[in-house]
């Protein structure tokens, strides 16, 4: 019951206006501001809080990607994680890296690091997949508490309050387990200047997926990326009958 693994993903910053590449193969990432996925920030904050409550001894931050992924790990270290692991994936492999491969990597690391808890953001704001946490748990055959708005450790179990469509669901799962962080779980701390200085000395281990015995070949091929259609102005109608007529006319009903 000593180690928490936290996944952190480097994504295009939430405030940036994303543009599709002229060849429609993807979005423009060169020269665009990137930062830690907001849900990953919340995951890091929760892990660090649990360690500060002395419920765990060590928090390890993991990121999969090219060299720049270490910046994201360094931010996690500045927020209080103890060490980092950079799983290096570059070029075309990185472009085709998705939840299935990442969850295989996390599953392998969770076993290797003997983690009691894996905390991830519920989804990344670039692909909105909301799959990695669930797949990681399935590959490990571990219980999962997803969309967590509250996490409490009770002995060797985790109580998770989940935000679901109907309201809130409280479950209790055995550790080791996977938890994914939702928006209201906590408010992530700002990296303080002294912690940024301390982060300099913390270690980031470097490895490749092959070192973990993970095959990252993608089974998916992106055919084309387009911007959503420009939103057209709406039409105002006078009466309910007019509305029904318009809806029938457009084939909606």
């Amino acid at each position: 019951m000593s180690r928490v693994l936290v996944g952190v993903k480097r994504v295009i910053d939430y405030a940036v206006k994303v543009r599709v590449k002229p060849d429609h193969s993807g979005v423009v990432t060169d020269g665009v501001k990137h930062s830690m996925n907001p849900f990953c920030e919340i995951a890091v904050e929760e892990a660090v809080k649990l360690k500060e409550k002395k419920l765990f001894k060590e928090v390890v931050a993991v990121s999969c990607g090219p060299a720049q992924a270490t910046e994201t790990i360094r931010t996690a270290l500045a927020m209080g994680c103890d060490r980092g692991i950079h799983v290096e994936v570059t070029g075309k492999d990185y472009e085709s890296l998705g939840p299935l491969q990442v969850s295989k990597i996390f599953a392998a690391l969770a076993k290797k690091e003997e983690a009691s808890l894996v905390i991830l953001g519920k989804q990344a704001i670039d692909d909105d997949c909301n799959q990695t946490g669930q797949m990681t748990a399935a590959l490990l055959d571990w219980p999962q508490g997803t969309f967590a708005s509250e996490v409490e450790i009770e002995g060797d179990k985790v109580k998770v309050v989940r935000e679901i469509d109907g309201g809130l669901e409280t479950i209790k799962i055995n550790m080791p387990a996977v938890v994914t962080a939702d928006l209201r779980l906590n408010t992530p701390r700002y990296a303080t200047l002294p912690n940024i200085m301390k982060a300099k000395k913390k270690k980031i281990a470097n490895m490749k997926p092959a070192d973990l015995g993970v095959d990252i070949v993608s089974r998916l091929e992106v055919l084309r990326v387009d911007e959503p259609p420009t939103r057209l102005a709406g039409v105002k109608v006078e009466t309910v009958d007019d509305l029904v007529a318009k809806l029938k006319e457009s084939g909606t009903i």
Binding site: E71, A78, Y190, L193
Partner: protein, 391 residues
């Protein structure tokens, strides 16, 4: 050394500086920018924000960790002040005064005991300090200080009035400059540490300022104010030198504050240029607007490079007096220029409080005046140049 890259490497800032800059920018965007208008309108000291910035290490950037600071370098400090000021010019001023003018001289000239007593409690944001050099009778003419200090037994007794003291109403201590021997002129001035509040020290009314209204500015009146002998900072007669060296560094802080205000004004104008349409297109398409934005960008970026150069020279322990004066001059004039042009780009919207442009205009103006007027900066620069060029 912390900043171990070459002066003016063409690459990006070192990773730690980038992270530090980002955390300050995040804080300024989320916590300061949304309330800056209210702080200005209601003349509110941002006590909670100062506290939070203290816990982030921003109130004592250069102070070593053992004393409670962040243990970073002056370049990091300059970056921090710029980002904070971009969110709120007043808060940037509080950060700058605490770091450069109050903590600065104690860190440089204080004994270990003085550092522990007068710096450590001022690193957390719970307490801020201030710096009292100017008087009603002399601002630029700092050598003519008439505030006096006489020794009586095991105490110094201070008498006189200091003017224009930023943070005065919110401070818990002040570095005061007073003369122990007027016949020695500026060589008779010494620096003293006085806690606030303290018997014999009172505050004048808060000045009603054009800008940086969330900071308090007032006279400090010393009337037989008694302090222990151990409260002298540095050696007797070193006060003028301490003040001048403190202001050298302080100028980098004010330059950074001015940069933050200038950048905020530029961002405001550039954003408006995208959104406001006239003659059938966004006004950003008009050359008149484009030329203004370009001039603003050049003014800010060149002042920023001067500021960084001065900070890096200081960190490398090289002389930086001339560069610091150039930075302060360039950045403050960039702030007034950019905020003026920003209002012009916004037109009528620039004149009302709905947009922050008018607040940037008012906040910018003081940067050409305090910590050495633009005229004094020109004298400093010319003095250094002529010294370098002497036959």
């Amino acid at each position: 050394p912390f900043a171990s890259f070459l002066l003016f490497s063409p690459g990006p800032l070192p990773e730690m500086h980038q992270m530090m800059r980002q955390t300050c920018r995040d804080y300024a965007d989320r916590e300061l920018a949304p309330i800056a208008g209210k702080l200005d309108k209601e003349h509110l000291f941002p006590a909670q924000q100062v506290h939070e910035l203290g816990s982030m290490g921003v109130m004592a950037v250069e102070v070593p960790e053992e004393l409670g600071g962040a243990g970073m370098d002056y370049l990091a400090y300059a970056l921090a002040v710029e980002e904070i000021s971009r969110g709120c010019g007043s808060t940037g001023c509080v950060v700058s005064v605490n770091n450069s003018l109050y903590i600065g001289p104690i860190l440089k000239f204080g004994t270990q005991e003085q550092k522990e007593q007068w710096i450590t409690p001022f690193t957390t944001g719970e307490k801020v300090g201030c710096f009292a050099l100017s008087e009603p009778g002399n601002g630029s003419d700092a050598g003519a200080a008439s505030t006096s200090a006489r020794q009586e037994g095991d105490e110094w007794v201070l008498n006189g009035t200091k003017a224009w003291i930023t943070n005065s109403w919110d401070a818990s201590a002040v570095v005061v400059f007073a003369s122990t021997d007027k016949s020695l002129k500026h060589k008779g001035i010494s620096a003293f540490l006085v806690p606030m509040p303290h018997p014999g020290l009172s505050l004048g009314k808060k000045e009603d300022k054009l800008g940086i209204r969330a900071t308090s500015t007032a006279n400090i009146i010393l009337d037989d104010c008694r302090i222990p002998l151990g409260n002298m900072l540095g050696s007797p007669g070193a006060g003028f030198k301490i003040a001048m060296q403190t202001l050298d560094s302080g100028r980098i802080g004010i330059a950074s504050q001015a940069l933050g205000i200038a950048q905020a004004a530029l961002d405001c104008a550039a954003d408006y240029a995208h959104k406001r349409t006239a003659f059938g297109a966004p006004i950003g398409k008009l050359q008149a607007v484009q030329f203004k934005l370009a001039d603003m960008a050049v003014a800010v970026e060149s002042a920023r490079l001067l500021t960084w150069k001065a900070a890096m020279l200081k960190d490398a322990k090289k002389p930086f007096t001339k560069e610091a004066a150039m930075a302060k001059l360039a950045a403050s004039e960039a702030a007034t220029f950019c905020s003026h042009q920003s209002i012009q780009v916004l037109g009528g919207m620039g004149y009302v409080t709905d947009m922050p442009a008018e607040r940037h205009y008012r906040d910018a103006r003081i940067t050409e005046i305090y910590e050495g007027t633009s005229e004094i900066q020109r004298l400093v620069i010319a003095g250094q140049l002529l010294k370098e060029n002497a036959p």
